[in-house]
């Protein structure tokens, strides 16, 4: 059997019953959309949002603060904003919420 036809049941299962699995177990099966969305953030904010340099760490910040900050960068950037506006204009509200949750839960 070609691999693609075999993938469908697993994919359908994951989509339907993901909530039933322990979070870590699900993460073993596939990488979540939030993890993939958050991937490029690490290139400036450090692995897992922990920055070793001049760019602020974002790991462990309160989720509501992250949503507020990321949304403001997109819609009403505070004075002194440099590149974050150009980034956040590429993300919708749902993606911002997913990123905020991911980094709020990230280990500090």
């Amino acid at each position: 059997m070609p691999p693609f036809t075999m993938r469908l049941p697993v994919r359908a299962f994951l989509a339907t019953f993901a909530f039933a699995l322990p979070a870590t177990a699900y993460a073993d099966a596939t990488v979540s959309e939030a993890q993939i969305l958050a991937g490029p953030c690490a290139s400036c904010h450090g692995p897992g949002g922990q920055s070793p340099g001049a760019i602020p760490s974002i790991a462990g910040l309160p989720e509501a603060d992250l949503i507020a900050a990321l949304t403001a960068f997109r819609d009403n950037p505070p004075a002194g904003t440099t590149v974050m506006t150009r980034h956040m204009k590429g993300y919708d509200d749902a993606q911002i919420a997913a990123l905020a949750k991911f980094f709020a839960e990230a280990e500090q």
């Binding site: 469908l8 699995l21 073993d28 993939i36 991937g39 450090g46 692995p47 340099g53 590429g90």
Partner: protein, 430 residues
Amino acid sequence: MKTTRRTLLGGIGAGIGAGVVSLGLPGLVRAQNASAHVVVVGGGFGGATAARYLRRYSPDLKITLIEPSETFVTCPFSNLYLGGLRSWDSITHSYAAHRGAGIEVIHASAEQIDGAARKVTLSDGTALEYDRLVLSPGIDIRWGALEGYDEPAAELAPHAWKAGPQTQLLKSQLEAMADGGTFVMSITDGAFRCPPGPYERASMVAHYLKTNKPKSKILLLDSKETFSKQGLFKQGWEALYGDMIEWISADNDGKVAKVDASALSVETAFGVTHKADVLNVVPPQKAGWIADRAGVTNETGWVPVKGNTFESVQVPGIYVVGDATIAAPMPKSGFCANAQGKVAAAAIIADLAGAEPAPASFVNTCYSLVGPEWGISVAGVYYFDGEKLAEREGSGGVSPIEADAAFRQAEAVYGAGWYASISADTWGTV
């Protein structure tokens, strides 16, 4: 082996579809990953990142990283080394963190890749079987594509477009040049690594010359009519270096047709000869040669990939990332290679589990340093639209041209912050 796993997984999927023993899946998927072997060829931004994120995503996967060099010198920030702002050590990274994470690192060159047999043969004769391969081959120079520019010529007129001895040669030539000398750079057109790189290099050479040899000149002979962050670079050059840097576009006879490395001179398309004291050639490029041997390149010399996974469109099971790929509108940058490495890692984890990966998402941010306290940037957010890679509408763009000195200074600081973070992300070193 592969057939066995797929058959097994198909069975699991069928069982689950029937509503049987759903909690058995995670353990079995882990067993799947534990028995799979992913080989990563190339330890630069794409490959080193892919290896670390494969480990992050799958603690039990067997991962082998093949990289000839014991340490990796980055092209990003190598211009700062030329400008005297960075030490060689500060742009050199080891693989200790990979080994610490249980990734086997083999310092050898991958000589052959057999995509049908899923086998890599190394320069030491070892043959490795893989279930999935990540190929991050970087670039190679198209020797001879620019008349007169072959490997011996590069020992006289360095390209320094792969960081290493070429970069150190160029720096030693700049240090040996007399005050009042002319630094000439020939810049290719078409696809090449790091679109703003030649102009950051001109900036950093200008910084070095202004500081040490202020009567010197810089002549940029360009095969293009426009370039990355052009307005921002020209603004910064005028403010910081006056008329030290002269840029000649293709339509003003800037295109170099022929290099005479022993005479340190170049001849333009219309036959004008320019004599240099130090000659730097940014030459035509292609994907690293191992990509040809793996059968993943097309007639352009670069590698077509599926935009959601970065799997080769030509050879299943080989995921190609970084400068070697055709990934426009993403540029050939270290940032993109790092982002693609993560997407490929996630796609491999999903594929080994018989699942589809979550949607790919990418960012690019390229900082360029015009002067020690003058940074500029270009950014973009990218996704796979179902057919091709695309930029998120409204995202991205360059630093504002009207920004003040504090903004430029902040971007210089953030550029250094980016380098620290991406180094930590890619190699576990700062």
